[in-house]
Symmetry: C2
Subunit: 388 residues, 2 copies
């Protein structure tokens, strides 16, 4: 880890602007990470991701361990070289995927036995292995292995999982060899404020360089999500970065920034793009709707992305109606650029001390119509079953 991993520059009504320092460059915060589970942000080249305005992406240890294998990526010179990405990478530990994607076999204090969702083969993952794999991948930020619980689990069950997560976090810290990588802890505790408090207390005593809030956006009402974020965030040390895992719709990002979150990841912007749901200043639209078939103007005339600068809405509509792969690309470019622009505007408003006004302004114009809700619910369902 570099001398200093995070610098908080400015606070505005609870929202924070700062900088993360990584072996692959400085990352301005609040930051959103596009998701590249399999060492690729779906449909895009690394050059495009950079051009769109991102300096950090997320990759998944679980996926890469199963395919192509950690050893293959190590042989290719690490994850950055493998995917030709020279900016920062954060890797998830694999914990969440083991609990959500893979048929789970057994969990003990030692670790977790699971079956591959690809070929059914049996594998064993421990906190020590999770760190070892992430060191081999060469992630700039690594995550501890944690035990995940579901929405609706009893307090006793959530407490036991949390306690194990704490013991595992300690083992991760202890086994870490490379010191240029930042290892983040994950606060658990479900929807129980008292457990969240205990989790923060335990983990902050271990002095991690960063803290994630896990176990949210798993099916609970949105008010509960944000109540938990607010509760937990307020307890975390001011000088450490805070990462809300798996949250990434425009409106949720704004709300979470207001509660002191610095780092986000989510497959939502890219996944809903491939479903034809596109972000605009007035909310999401569904490009498959008949109304867009003959629209000459760009999808979002205020947008500066390649898609909006180059093509009519009618062309984008045609590509989706014709199942053309270029449509998925152009939609992904647009949604990611929308998020990149949003993060820039959020950060500027914090630095200028006007975040509250920005938030109010954004949320009042970014509306969710019925049409959009249908698309969103599909996304939400996927998200709750796939990402914490």
């Amino acid at each position: 880890m570099p001398e200093k991993h995070f610098n908080l520059l400015k606070t505005s009504s609870g929202a924070r602007a700062g900088e993360l320092y990584t072996p692959h460059g400085t990352v301005p915060t609040p930051v959103f990470m596009p998701v590249g589970s399999q060492a690729t942000v779906k449909t895009l080249t690394p050059r495009e991701i950079k051009d769109i305005g991102f300096n950090m992406v997320l990759a998944n240890t679980y996926h890469l361990y199963l395919r192509p294998g950690i050893d293959v990526i190590e042989k290719m010179g690490g994850l950055h070289r493998f995917m030709a990405w020279d900016s920062a990478v954060l890797t998830d530990s694999g914990g969440y995927q083991v609990f959500s994607l893979a048929p789970l076999c057994k969990i003990t204090d030692e670790g977790v036995t699971f079956r591959s969702h690809i070929d059914g083969s049996e594998h064993f993952l421990t906190p020590e292995l999770a760190v070892k794999y992430q060191e081999s991948l060469g992630a700039d930020i690594m995550m501890v292995l944690d035990e995940c619980t579901a929405y609706g689990d009893s307090q006793e069950k959530v407490r036991r999982a949390m306690d194990r997560t704490h013991r595992w976090a300690e083992r991760c810290l202890k086994t870490q060899k490379r010191k240029d990588q930042a290892l983040y802890a994950i606060v658990q505790g479900g929807m129980f404020p008292e457990l969240r408090r205990q989790s923060v207390e335990y983990l902050t005593a271990l002095n991690f360089p960063g803290y994630a809030i896990g176990g949210l956006s798993v099916g609970e009402p949105k008010e509960t999500t944000f109540a938990m974020v607010e509760e937990t965030s307020a307890l975390l040390p001011v000088e450490k970065p805070r990462y809300l895992m798996g949250v990434g719709s425009p409106e949720d990002i704004v709300e979470a920034v207001a509660r002191g979150i610095d780092i986000f990841d989510s497959a939502l912007p890219t996944r809903v793009a491939r479903n034809g749901a596109l972000f605009t200043g007035k909310g999401r639209i569904n490009i498959r709707k008949a109304t867009y078939r003959r629209m000459e103007k760009p999808l979002d005339p205020d947008c500066d992305c390649y898609t909006c600068r180059t093509f009519s809405t009618a062309y984008l509509s045609h590509l989706f109606r014709s199942d053309e792969l270029l449509g998925l690309r152009l939609a992904t470019v647009h949604n990611l650029r929308f998020i990149a622009n949003l993060m820039g505007k959020i950060r500027n408003s914090i630095l200028e001390g006007t975040f509250d006004a920005f938030r109010e302004d954004f949320l009042s114009s970014y509306q969710t119509t019925n049409e959009q809700v249908r698309v969103e619910q599909k996304g939400r369902w996927l998200r709750s079953s796939r990402r914490r």
Copy 2:
């Protein structure tokens, strides 16, 4: 049509180097056109197609008529603006697709009634409408409507279709309004040299600015294809461009150039790319083979495409094994760049008068192993069922 549409610059052992003049720029020949049936070369942006080295693409009137509709494209300012492509476009008349893709209803001298392969709706296409649609699209080069026959059809059947094709060609010429577009005739006559001769005689008397050879690569042995190409090509006027429809494997292009062909189109390079079959100087390889899983060097170390300059073979292998869309893109970029480079080398060798040596050299190193044949056969099957 510009004053002069084609200029033959040099001939070398039967191979021809020249230039096509179109309202959207000069196109050096021999030229290969990537196929963008639905107003998009699958997976790529127009900027990429240009960067890879192409100045002309093919689009299909049949597909665009059904979706999004000729009127939509006209409203968007024509095909060039619709797909954001400012170089040349050749449109197929829709004849071949009507005979190969759509459930055919009835063919009379007046025209052809067919059902949409998308929704089963009934449509009527005439030579006059085919030209009208292509004029509305704004193609630089248009094709006449022709009647296609299958391999194995009797000489009598082929003759009747050819005679109708001739009458239709005449009607196309007569109905043409815009004079900036070049309208090409299509020589038919199946595998019968005498019919091919008659077809050339009839159509050249009408003095079209260019001539296509249709009805080949429909399932006949390759020797037959090239015998027919040789036979027909020799009869065509030296000063007019010759277009061999639906041929585009590297080895077939070289063989056809040797027989005096100037223009090619084929979905093969892009389609086999998406199947994982990639061109190299030594022949095609199948990226899904286990041997590529850990290969650090680029797919083709001699290749200057974005894919080979940026990624290891192992990464490309990983993308295909993980069903990642980026794999389809990177493979398409590579195969098209291979073809663009091939066309450049062919043209230079003709201009230098060394085409024969180039041809011998290329064909002796570009070998088809068993592995490649399997992929090719799949492609060939698709091609014979989809493109003439």
